[in-house]
Amino acid sequence: MTHTLTSRPSTLLDQVIADTPGKAMNLKACLQCGTCAGSCPSGPDMDYSPRAIFAMLEAGMDEQVLKSNTPWFCVSCYHCMVRCPQEIPITDIMYTLKRRAIAAGYYREPSQENAAEFSETFCDFVENSGRSFELGIAMRYHLRHHPLGAVKMATGMGMKMLSRGRMDITPTRIKNIDQLKSILKKAKELGGEE
């Protein structure tokens, strides 16, 4: 694949820096040393290594970056972040890239669908009850995506969890859910990004 460098490469690069707290500016000082990719527990499953993603950002390959599954395979173990010789907040940048991918509508890319939808399902429960609800989340999510998984849940492990009283059948709901809802409503108005 040939890629032509445009005069003004990445707009995404600057957005990512702006949208990530901490020393995100250091992203521009990436040495391409690969410490992040070398440290990454799920690195082998990523279509591009984190280092490669940063090189692509630099080169302005914004679309390929947003379509890649890399951020969605980040397990947020923060190893890359503490080891990066340029102190780039890599894990936080991965979160920003996820949000960007959703905002850019690359959300339904098969590479990321699972992860994005799981996060979404999780958030739905939280927004409506104020608490997460493992069984519900897992069930709804699996039913939607891989019914097989749901079956596995319901039988095998799910049962064991239930039998040991480690899973709720019904979600718990916080008392002042309205307060939380209005807080989140306002937060959404203020936008996911700065």
Partner: protein, 321 residues
């Protein structure tokens, strides 16, 4: 000492054992926990992946509630993910003005407000290792866990990231090792003590998760650990509940119980196992607990593997006492 307490969703049900044992050891250690009233989920690692400001607002509500509730300015979270989210949000609100302004508006919509820095977020491990201290723990031990080989497992979110003040090394933490040592158990030098348990990958890409879990189980088995001691509900869930799946997937046969370090403390303090949530684990801890003996073992050298009879001297390790 009085502490604010943020259990988090997991400790409500899935990690009940963690909650129960924490409360059980709190008494002898002289800790009083005041639960934050009507707290909400911290968003785990999901909310921040969808929308930024809502994610920060979600966590901030808890901080605001904790600050309003005049108990203590220390807020203890036993769950690693909750701990990191609370600490991180407090940290970045203090650092990032625009962020704070937006979050302020959101909280205001709920009639709340929060000043970053008001609450000092602690993980339970920090409270026990630093505030209480190893000596105080040792004093409370009545039933030492002699001959129990424990792999101390920290996971990711307590030791890392290091960009905010931390109480232990991000790569090679030792506080949990020291606690368990003081309980009389044998602590193995667990190389993967701070590696990832797979997090939410169990849901998204099971194969990825199972491989990560397998590595931990294998390494613990290689070091002949009787059990793994954790401090995080997610780690416990993945290592415990998915152990069968791992065995099925890789044709292995691991049976390594995964318990919370507070449960071990409780045992050593002489609290009956059933008051510590034992039995809730899927891989039973009983066989391992049966190994505990009355009398202390002969001093065994840790780190057998890799350390042959050395002709050339080994460099001394700074943190080795």
């Amino acid at each position: 000492m009085k502490y604010g307490y943020y259990p988090g969703c997991s400790l409500e049900k899935n990690a009940r054992a963690y909650h129960v044992s924490t409360m059980a050891v709190a008494k002898p250690l002289g800790i009083e926990f005041v639960e934050v009233d009507d707290w909400n989920c911290c968003g785990a690692t999901e909310m921040i992946a969808i929308e930024k400001i809502p994610a920060y607002a979600l966590v901030s509500r808890n901080l605001a509630l904790a600050a309003k509730q005049n108990g203590s300015t220390n807020l203890v979270a036993p769950c690693s993910a909750c701990y990191l989210n609370l600490k991180k949000v407090d940290h970045y609100l203090a650092e990032n003005k625009q962020l704070k302004e937006k979050v302020d508006q959101a909280l205001e919509a709920g009639g709340l407000s929060y000043q970053p820095g008001t609450i000092n977020v602690q993980h339970l491990l920090e409270t026990i290792a630093v505030d209480i201290g190893y000596e105080a723990i040792k004093e409370k031990v009545v039933k030492p866990l002699y001959n129990l080989r424990v792999a101390p497992y920290y996971g990711c979110l307590v030791p890392r990231p290091a960009n905010m003040e931390r109480f232990d090394d991000p790569e090679h933490p030792t506080s949990l090792d020291k606690i368990i040592k003081n309980l009389g158990a044998t602590v193995i030098d667990f190389p993967l003590k701070a590696q990832c348990c797979g997090g939410h990958m169990t849901q998204i890409s099971e194969n990825t998760a199972l491989e990560l879990i397998r590595r931990l189980l294998k390494n613990a088995a290689d070091y002949e650990a009787d059990m793994i001691a954790t401090l995080c509900p997610m780690c416990q869930l993945n290592l415990d509940a998915y152990q069968d799946a791992v065995n099925a997937h890789f044709g292995t046969n691991y049976k390594i119980p995964v318990v919370y370090f507070t449960q071990l403390m409780g045992l050593a303090f002489g609290i009956p196992a059933n008051e510590l949530g034992f039995g809730k684990e899927i891989v039973s801890a009983q066989p391992a607990l049966d190994k505990i003996t009355e009398e202390a073992p002969k001093p065994v050298r840790t780190r057998e593997r890799g350390k042959q009879h050395t002709e050339l001297p080994m460099p001394t390790q700074a943190e080795e006492e």
